[in-house]
Symmetry: C2
Subunit: 693 residues, 2 copies
């Protein structure tokens, strides 16, 4: 726990009388924001700063200090930090830049800071940060000259620049804050510590350039996020996407996918742009969460309502149906030419009374979970009065979002809406996007499922552990990056993954014997080698072989390919050729930060092309496995479309669970790729299994 | 041609001294906007209005009248319009509502208006509209109380409400206009007439609830759109999507798809939201068009630059590479800690001089086609000075877009940017979206290909016309909605579509004879019936039959299905079973407004699910056909990915061209659906062909 609520004394190390220095701005901000506790300027040369007695060091001060703010050049920080530790100051904000962000030299300095506080009672925010503002206790320990009022909103920002933009934005939008914390290089205090501690917030927004401990972040989400929405902006998608990949699963479940999956799964609302972040803060701060995705629109213009309807449908929401009673209410109050079906069009000449009648009618309707009010500035439109009256509708305790479309004329109305704590946007698309996040969050809170805690070992572990460990040690000895296909299949079988019968054959005659005994026609021959990951790419798989002659020809061809590519560790494997069924992919990828990412979707060689896949962070329940299946487009094939029979899902569920078990049982497995798992009427078959180490 | 440029006298019919009447507002607007011509109030009762002599009728006025504005109740409009016709007033704006938009009664009144002007020299704008504003001649013939300055921007709006919002928005955004025309019910003058006439515009924006003549709209686009960008917002996507569909092609090429395809193909920039429309107007009005998709970013904050980079990549643009020379320029002017690779980060403490140095360096770089300037309000940031200096960068004649992220502090900077005609947005995502439209348009202008003019008949017409006409008459006689599969195949063959050999067989013995002679194994049997469109849905296709016994079993099964479903017009057809190849779909759908929509994409029974298709409006060249192929995801399969051989494209091109020819030769064909066209190494086969009437 760090102390954010009872700060009663602050030392400003590097406080200055020179206007250009950060230490001047910080001290001034603390004094100007109305902080009622004690303030101690620290400066080696000055006697007094801003009419306060100045000290040479915190050691000169006999009273308790709750917070120190350091704004001196990087090379001198360590020394004053040592004094802060000695003085047992619980919290130190290091504003100074010149650490990790500048390269190796700075990194060394930063590590020294951490060493300084090890085993001490002192915690650090920063270095290289803008500081911290706590509105309730009137602490502005930053060099941002903003003095926000109070609202239960917090912003944790890893970018100081975005912090200044945020503070400027809330100023214009009549919002206050609870806490603004610029975490900078977050060498000690990071997002997780703050997210654990910031309670009683209507909304928390985070800008995170990296995520320090993904598993912890998820754990906090599972515990806390059904109580409060947390918005997360995490940039760097295109960069992550550019990284090299080694398997289907790697390319579909790596990079930013793990982050997005983890955030969503543990109830964080991921946003992609600064506008989204800021606009959504306003709505979550001011309005309740909708109970469903059914929206009512009240408008004085038909065109914008049609556009807005398109967007609502596109975002997976629906227009609420209006029942008889509500319809009667509307007919009583609105002129005959009005549109009394949702969207309710009160028509261009509407005064505020028609808006009120329409809003009351739809808000009392059970089916309606949220209201979107559209207004265009027409000649009769009572913009400001309507804005005020929208504010009175909050008594229905359903979220209300407004879009006053225009410029100068609607500006005052927008300001009044802000006073009434109704989030308003110039364009309806912003309102719809905001609403869709609120609906998503409402849904998450409802069906919120805490992730499983993985049992220490799966049911297959005891029986297979000897075999797998042995093979791993062998693989290590030969410096292999993967198990051979044959061993992968053996492992898969031990985890109850449905693998078709197959055998390694030294000669075509041996293959023919296997075929006549167990495999039967049609069959497939393939090259099996731990070093060859994409055998299709070199023609290493020959399928649909119908007779003995075909086997001989195929065997010769594969031997030729092995020789041509000099694949020294290759064997030839014979398998039944299974065609009847849907090609799916099941995979898992170990992410350094979040753990195991499970993948399911459309399989085959065009998996990456079709990109019909979905992901979860393990461990997940069987129920979540079914949820994954339903998120893909191929779900409708599995459930049977266009006269096709539905396909059994148990093979998919079983394989996903088994892959999860394998990954959790053996941390040395970096990735599993089953592509395809052919799902047919009579069962599923894992036809090609790769286990990377 | 209508007269918009030389209006020298205006009559206001329904002018009034009563403030609440529209006629009062309209007259006042005309007078207040500084119109220098003559103004004639027309009112049955008054002697004088607004210090002007009032007339009972336009007939009382001896001078020429260039424009009449009518604002009296609907039932009286016809009579005064008759007088306008007699007086040969060339242009009449009918503001009055109560026409088509109110139902059958009003529709009758509107038709009477049209009859009144038939064979006259009078043209109508409206009825049910907001009016017209022409900034150059100071005509505000509307009831919108805005007096915009001049800019070469026009807005054609079918929604009066959106018109008021637009005028209010330009007021706040320091934009002027050339023409604002509210076309209302557009009973006479519509978007096409205006788009043909509005020349010398930097940008034209349209809000269209319906498109009156799609072919004409495209024709105008082909002729004019490489000279000026036209933004089109057309709502109603979700409504269009909900309509019933009768074929794969219908579901993938019908509804809003035809509109979007047509707009894109003829160079209109389709936008989906009001915000997009408004924000893009500003950029097109003020900035030149970028020469490529290579963008430079100059920023004082790293985080927002990373987010913006993600968005640029997502929208198909690229960060420009900075060459050695530019790099040296940057190193000379920027501090060592700045990031001298694109995005150029001048760092948080940058004053305006660093911005200038960075902007000049990247703008002189050939590779850079557009500049995006990001600014966050940090403690040293010279917001206003930087804004002014960005304005001086227009000398490089490359588009510059800015995003000043924040609220109150950046507001003044944004205003100054507007003065410099630099489009600026609060959030970078808006800037990126705007830029992507400019890049798209620049690309369109470069590769702009005027659509072909269809020759009156295709090369196949002469030889096939007798047969097809005969079959059509037969089909009509039996009231059939489609040609039977057998006839469809015959027609396809005559148009050189590659159809596999197939025969109708009355008995399984007859089928066996065909198989032994021409079809060979493996083969397929299917039900052929003009009334059965989705034969797979009832199990009407049996594939991969390997031997005589299989044929007999399949034949019996299909006979059973025919009997069970009582399909009286069914036959059984035998065909070779072609499996080796990629399933594609080729189709065409006749759209009432735009003509023939051609479709190509991933085929098979999951076509709608995968939605990997693209469309064009016919006629198109072979070159455009290849462009279509390349727009799909399966293009990479066709071109050969992951070690696969590329597949020949000639069968696709030939079939698309043939389908186009068929649709254009025979207007009675409403839709053609070839699914699948199996594209294999040794050729393509149209395995299932539907021709709907």
């Amino acid at each position: 726990m760090i102390n954010l609520s009872t700060i009663q004394s602050i030392a400003v190390i590097g406080a200055s009388n020179e206007r250009k220095k950060l230490g001047y701005s910080i001290l001034k901000n603390i004094l100007d924001y109305g902080f009622s506790g004690k303030v101690y300027p620290i400066n080696l040369k000055e006697e007094a700063i801003a009419n306060l007695r100045s000290y040479k060091s915190v050691m000169e001060i006999s009273e308790r200090i709750d917070l120190a703010v350091i704004a001196i050049p990087a090379p001198f920080v360590k020394e004053v930090l040592q004094e802060c530790v000695k003085k047992t100051i619980p919290l130190v904000i290091i504003i100074s830049a010149g650490f990790k962000e500048t390269g190796d030299e700075g990194k060394k300095l930063e590590i020294e800071l951490l060493q300084t506080i090890t085993h001490s009672q002192t915690r650090i925010i920063g270095p290289n940060c803008l500081g911290m503002i706590l509105a309730q206790s009137h602490v502005n320990a930053s060099f941002a000259a903003n003095f926000p009022s109070y609202d239960p909103i917090s912003f944790i920002s890893q970018s100081g620049a975005l912090g200044t933009a945020f503070l400027d934005w809330i100023d214009e939008n009549d919002l206050g804050i609870d806490s603004f914390i610029s975490i900078g290089n977050k060498s000690d205090i990071d997002e997780n510590i703050l997210l654990e501690q910031l309670d009683n917030q209507k909304v928390i927004a985070c800008y995170l350039e990296d995520i320090k401990d993904g598993k912890k972040l998820m754990e906090i989400g599972y515990i806390k996020n059904q109580k409060r929405p947390v918005l997360v902006l995490k940039p760097g998608k295109s960069e992550a996407a550019a990284k090299a990949i080694s398997s289907h699963t790697g390319s579909l479940a790596g990079g930013h996918v793990a982050i997005s999956t983890a955030l969503k799964q543990s109830g964080y609302i991921e946003v992609n742009t600064i506008g989204e972040l800021f606009n959504k803060i306003k709505a979550f701060a001011w309005q309740p969460i909708p109970k469903s995705n059914k929206i009512a629109i009240v408008t004085n213009a038909g065109g914008p309502a049609v556009i807005t309807t398109d967007l609502i449908i596109e975002k997976g929401m629906r227009l609420a149906d209006i029942d008889e009673k509500t319809h009667a209410l509307l007919q009583e109050k609105l002129p005959r030419t009005a549109n009394m079906h949702n969207p309710i069009d009160v028509i261009g000449d509407a005064l505020s009374d028609r808006y009120v009648a329409a809003m009351e009618a739809v808000l009392q309707e059970d089916e309606v979970s949220a209201l979107l009010v559209l207004l265009t500035p027409q000649i009769m439109t009572e913009i400001e009065l309507t804005a005020k009256l929208i504010g009175t509708m909050t008594k229905y305790n359903k979220p209300i979002i407004a879009s006053f479309i225009g410029g100068t004329l609607v500006e005052k109305g927008m300001k009044l809406l802000a006073k009434e704590k109704i989030p308003a946007y110039h364009f309806p698309e912003t309102a719809v996007d905001v609403l869709s996040s609120m609906v998503w969050y409402g849904d998450y809170v409802k069906k919120h499922e805490t992730s499983l805690v993985a049992s220490s070992q799966s049911m297959y572990y005891a029986a297979s552990h000897g075999y797998i460990s042995e093979k791993y040690i062998e693989a290590q000895r030969h410096n292999l990056k993967a198990f051979s296909p044959n061993i992968s299949e053996q492992i898969a079988k031990r985890y109850n993954i449905p693998v078709p019968e197959s055998s390694i054959c030294a000669t075509s005659d041996e293959a023919l014997t296997h075929i006549s005994q167990t495999v039967h026609y049609p069959c497939a021959l393939k090259i099996s080698s731990p070093t060859l990951l994409h055998k299709s790419d070199i023609g290493g798989v020959i399928t649909d072989i119908q007779d003995d002659n075909g086997v001989r020809v195929a065997f010769d061809k594969l031997e030729g390919i092995i020789e041509h590519h000099s694949i020294f560790d290759a064997h030839i494997e014979v398998q039944p050729y299974i065609t009847d069924g849907l090609y799916t992919i099941i995979g898992a990828q170990r992410d350094a930060n979040f753990g195991v990412v499970l993948l399911f979707g459309q399989g085959g060689i065009y998996t990456e092309l079709m990109h019909d896949t979905t992901t979860r962070i393990a461990p997940i329940s069987k129920n979540m496995t079914l949820e994954m299946i339903d998120e893909t487009k191929i779900a409708s094939i599995l459930h049977g479309i266009r006269g096709q029979d539905p396909l059994p899902l148990d093979g998919i569920v079983q394989t996903l669970q088994a892959v999860q078990d394998l990954m959790l049982d053996y941390p040395f497995i970096s990735s599993i790729d089953i592509n395809p798992l052919i799902v047919g009427k009579s069962g599923s078959f894992a036809v090609d299994i790769k286990i990377l180490l």
